[in-house]
């Protein structure tokens, strides 16, 4: 809609008129019987899959902002995807409250480091954390990689390092995690499927 000056003035006038009438106690009846504004009108909708159990319910997520540069999106409402053949729009209590997981006060927001013996976290940069992790991994691998076993068979395993992967991460994450750590010779890889 194009907002002309005239229309703008009309609108403003009407608004002022309405508010002053209301202030005088002439609240229009309509206001008295109005429902709450529909909170999803014009919001951005994204399709996703529930992160909890393996039913894999379809989700509709609604976020702040329309994707413009100056708006930082944040999800404020999640409900079931009615098109999804399994959940057909329904969600369990956990799924119905996913927004509180996404926006949990216990979400981590910065890399942290705990030095040996320390009793508190220290916020660090990504550079520091990743560099130091890589350093420690390389040193341990170089020291402990078993290239051959007692019979001289090439075994190339790194038994002193392990990885627990997440069964709630995406296939892409799981695949890349597996690829990266197995290539280093890690044998102690597991995910929640084990427990």
């Amino acid at each position: 809609m194009k907002l002309t000056r005239r229309r703008f003035l009309q609108g403003t006038g009407a608004t002022i008129g309405a508010t002053s009438l209301a202030a005088l106690g002439f609240a229009p009846e309509r206001v008295l019987a109005q429902t709450r504004e529909f909170k999803l009108a014009h919001t951005r909708e994204t399709r996703n899959t529930c992160t909890y159990c393996s039913v894999g319910c379809g989700l509709l997520m609604y976020s702040l902002g329309d994707g413009s540069r100056n708006a930082r999106s944040r999800i404020f409402h999640i409900e079931g995807d009615p098109d999804h053949p399994v959940n057909r729009g329904t969600l369990c209590p956990k799924g119905a409250s996913l927004v509180d997981f996404v926006n949990s006060p216990d979400r981590l927001v910065t890399p942290e480091y705990r030095a040996p013996g320390a009793d508190a976290w220290k916020p660090v940069t990504w550079e520091f954390a990743l560099d130091r992790i890589a350093r420690r991994m390389k040193d341990d691998r170089d020291a402990n990689l078993v290239e051959r076993n007692g019979q001289g068979v090439t075994v190339n395993r790194w038994p002193t390092f392990g990885v627990l992967a997440a069964s709630a991460s995406s296939n892409e994450t799981g695949y890349l995690t597996h690829k990266v750590f197995r290539s280093m010779g890690v044998v102690a890889i597991d995910n929640q499927a084990r427990v």
């Binding site: 994204t46 399709r47 996703n48 899959t49 529930c50 992160t51 909890y52 894999g56 997520m61 976020s63 999106s73 999800i75 053949p85 209590p93 799924g95 409250s97 509180d100 997981f101 996404v102 216990d106 979400r107 981590l108 927001v109 910065t110 480091y113 013996g117 009793d119 990504w126 990743l130 130091r132 992790i133 890589a134 075994v155 190339n156 790194w158 002193t160 390092f161 392990g162 992967a165 069964s167 709630a168 991460s169 995406s170 296939n171 892409e172 994450t173 695949y175 890349l176 597996h178 690829k179 290539s183 280093m184 010779g185 044998v187 102690a188 597991d190 995910n191 929640q192 084990r194 427990v195």
Partner: protein, 807 residues
């Protein structure tokens, strides 16, 4: 799941045992409701507790934790002794007619070949009698005394209703009702589905629990049928995906297995896995193992994987032992593990014997935690009063905590229990500096690789030569990775049927694993996912149409393998290729080829008269009532007491070695930490509540409101005995630790009469810990024992011993 969520609506009987779907999978359980409403289905629930699933059941039977095999064997005994089996199906589609070697024996709880010192079996005798042609011998009449049918009949004959009731505590009348209802589905037009979850897996006899049900389903002719099958209701959103991708100590993507050090080269490695058919005309699909393996190696190491170097076979580590989580924590506890990464995994809360886990983590040199949330594991070193009584100054572990995105802040695919790969989209920015897991893993890898490039070091090649074709090496996109695990042609693939034509051009995304080659001309990071991302992303499909009315929704997302929605679906037709139940036609032989609503699980142009059987992955071509050598603890399921049993005497066997699963591994210090019924008289089991998801939702406000505080469930009789009332604080102790919680006194756990004594059960919900928005609580794994299933080492969280007292 052999079938899928929506398919539950096709069932006539729903058997929930070893699971509590109303509570753990409510939106999947919807389809049970649909079956009840639209199919007049009956719901049976067998559980140690009257659960929320039981609340809507037609028939509920309470059993003692850890006695499922006794119950199921009793059902099998009923089916076999009253001839309530689908005879035609059993004869054609199971190994019932197969003759077993003469050396096979079973006596008082032990199968032939047991070595008590090694706690393991030599499985040589658990095999079929082979004829001179190399094929297994069969007796179609099922009368041969050593045929599987007769052996099974004999094996389960011990599980009379009296014995079942004596072991499980089940009410005999209700047990009988269950048997009758289950038996009703032996008719070809009646189907039962089995829904189970961790209530079966978290036992030292976990795999055999499931086998017992699979055998019942085979006897009833319910495998491959719409509304049938044995359905694992998996716990996490992508636990199926991570299993498919082999992110487990002994697996590679697509159920390929990590080489053992007894397999020195790739030829040998493939040979023992590419099994030849055991009956004439069978497909034995694993014969293609080499193609899947070579394609994986090409995906990972590209040009560095050549025929000459055995397709980089040596770049893969070789196993000398098991490295499952229980074994790794044992090694860590011994100080033999130095570095550990926990990516979205909270082992302090979810691995058994929390005290041992704390000690083990304290012995690490460094721990990396990648998670969206403040997990207990990441703060294992932080004192949190009685629920985490540690002294940080004595813990030398260096801990890194890296904030990751959650599902809502990333694109990607998840594989649900139905084996559907569903693509999802980013809806918001992550909080603060949080990064996606792909970027974090790439960040670590890029840095390690740079160090090897710069400094050299031990065995740098597998790292330096790992394919990394991503546009932004520091942050691979989900699409790139998905295209990689789908696979592509590395050369033009000639069509052998039409000379001169190609099946795929060099560089094309592959459409099916049927195209994979063992000559290095194809790459596929996970063969069973081949076809998920062709020239388009099939995982992102959103057509909910269900033309067959069976709930298949073939245009929604993409199911592995090859978009097949029901596994073994050709078993839903009789040996002439006609559906057993004409009301539920899934696939059929048209006279020229296999057609139907689902993708036939079969070679599409082989007529039924050719004798190829529908269980095409098995060398036998049929379903296994006799497990042969596939499991380590016996070809038939047998009831063994949990490692912590409330009974001081074995109710079934006289032989001490057969009291607990004789093939289950237990480390000496863990055995020493087992409790006895004198000190810890009550059976206990851990479980989830519907309001919470593991240890995540205690960080979310609404779930914290819905179930705010830790409690344990105690039956009214035991509570009376102990003077405990609703809402009192109680202490629950096991040999390994203790917790304090509120008491919830309930009629829903009744004392059971078992082997002449009364057994009380204590219910211990998990979900609470020392961080979160709920009231602070204790990690339930303070109580649980470190002993796992004999086959897959899943810990026995569902049956152990505790004592309870009022605080």
């Amino acid at each position: 799941m052999t079938n899928h969520w929506t398919d539950i609506k096709n069932a006539d009987v729903v058997m929930v045992m070893g699971g509590n779907p109303a509570e753990a999978h409510p939106c999947g359980f919807k389809w049970v409701t649909e079956a009840k409403a639209n199919n007049h289905a009956r719901l049976i629930v067998v559980d140690p507790r009257f659960t929320r699933t039981a609340a809507v059941a037609d028939l509920f039977v309470q059993i003692r934790p850890g006695t499922d095999i006794a119950f199921l064997s009793g059902v099998m005994n009923y089916l076999l002794s009253n001839d309530h089996v689908q005879r035609e199906y059993v004869a054609a589609y199971t190994n019932a007619p197969f003759v077993v070697r003469e050396q096979y024996a079973f006596d008082d709880g032990l199968f032939s070949g047991y070595d008590e010192g090694a706690r393991s079996y030599d499985k040589a005798s658990w095999a079929y009698e082979l004829g001179p042609d190399g094929f297994a011998q069969v007796d179609p009449t099922l009368r041969h005394p050593r045929c599987v049918y007769q052996l099974l009949k004999r094996h389960v004959s011990r599980y009379t209703p009296e014995v079942v009731s004596r072991i499980t505590g089940a009410d005999p009348a209700r047990f009988r009702q269950v048997c009758e209802l289950v038996a009703s589905t032996a008719a070809p037009d009646r189907v039962m589905t089995s829904l189970y979850a961790l209530g079966w897996t978290q036992h030292t006899v976990g795999a055999q629990n499931i086998r017992a049900m699979a055998m019942i389903q085979l006897l009833l002719g319910n495998m491959g049928m719409p509304g049938g099958g044995v359905n694992a209701l998996r716990g996490h959103s992508n636990i199926q995906g991570l299993t498919d991708l082999g992110v487990l100590s002994d697996l590679l993507p697509g159920y390929l297995t990590v080489p053992k050090e007894t397999e020195p080269d790739w030829k040998r490695y493939v040979e023992v896995r590419a099994l030849k058919p055991l009956r004439p005309g069978q497909m034995s699909y694993w014969q293609n193992y080499g193609k899947f393996f070579v394609s994986l190696q090409k995906a990972w190491w590209g040009d560095a994987a050549t025929r000459e170097n055995g397709f980089a076979y040596d770049y893969l580590p070789k196993l000398d032992r098991l490295y499952d989580i229980l074994a790794v924590f044992e090694l860590m506890h011994q100080g033999r593990v130095h570095g550990y990464v926990c990516q979205g995994f909270n082992p302090l809360a979810s691995a058994p014997n929390r005290a041992k886990v704390t000690e083990a983590l304290s012995k690490l040199e460094f721990l990396v935690v990648i998670d969206p949330l403040r997990t207990e594991t990441s703060e294992f070193w932080k004192n949190a009063g009685p629920s985490n009584p540690v002294d940080p100054s004595r813990i030398r572990t260096e801990v890194f905590r890296l904030p990751s995105t959650c599902f809502a802040e990333e694109d990607g695919s998840l594989t649900n229990s139905s084996r559907w790969l569903q693509w999802h989209y980013k809806g918001a920015e992550p909080p603060g500096e949080a990064r996606g897991d792909l970027g974090i893993v790439a960040g670590i890898f890029q840095r390690v690789r740079a160090l090897y490039q710069k400094e050299g070091g031990k065995l740098p090649d597998p790292i330096l030569k790992l394919t990394w074709p991503y546009l932004d090496p520091a942050s691979p996109s989900p699409e790139e990775v998905a295209r990689e695990y789908n696979g592509r042609a590395l050369a033009d693939l000639p069509d052998k049927a039409n000379p001169g034509k190609t099946l795929a051009k060099r560089g094309d995304q592959l459409t099916t694993f049927g195209l994979l080659q063992d000559d290095g001309s194809t790459a596929s990071g996970c063969w069973i996912y081949c076809g998920s991302y062709t020239d388009q992303n099939l995982m992102a499909r959103r057509d909910p149409a269900d033309p067959s009315g069976l709930g298949l929704a073939p245009g929604w997302a993409w199911a592995w393998p090859v978009n097949r929605r029901i596994l073994y679906n050709v078993a839903s037709t009789d040996p002439a290729g006609k559906p057993w139940d004409p009301r539920r036609p899934l696939v059929r032989w048209s006279g020229e080829q296999w057609v139907g609503a689902d993708v036939p699980d079969y070679k599409p142009d082989v007529p039924p008269s050719a004798g190829m059987r529908p269980f095409i992955l098995n060398p036998e071509g049929v379903g296994r009532l006799f497990g042969a050598d596939k499991l380590v603890d016996g070809p038939f399921p047998e009831h063994y007491e949990p490692f912590e049993s409330p009974l001081s005497a074995d109710p079934l066997h006289r032989r001490p070695a057969a009291r607990n699963n004789p093939a289950a591994r237990i480390f000496p210090d863990d055995r020493a930490a087992l409790g006895s019924p004198d000190e810890f008289p009550y059976a206990a089991t851990t479980y989830r509540l519907t309001e919470h998801f593991h240890f995540w939702t205690k960080h979310a406000r609404i779930p914290a409101v819905l179930q705010p505080e830790q409690f344990v469930e105690i039956g009214e009789a035991l509570a009376r005995e102990k003077g405990i009332r609703d809402g009192d604080r109680v202490r629950v102790r096991s040999r390994r630790g203790q917790l304090e919680a509120k008491a919830l006194v309930t009629k829903r756990i009744q004392p059971l009469q078992v082997a002449g004594r009364v057994v009380h059960t204590v219910g211990v919900p998990i979900h609470w810990g020392f961080i979160g928005l709920t009231r602070p609580g204790y990690l339930a794994n303070a109580l649980t024992p470190v002993v796992g299933d004999a086959n897959v080492q899943t810990p026995e969280f569902k049956a152990f011993l505790v004592n309870v007292e009022k605080v």
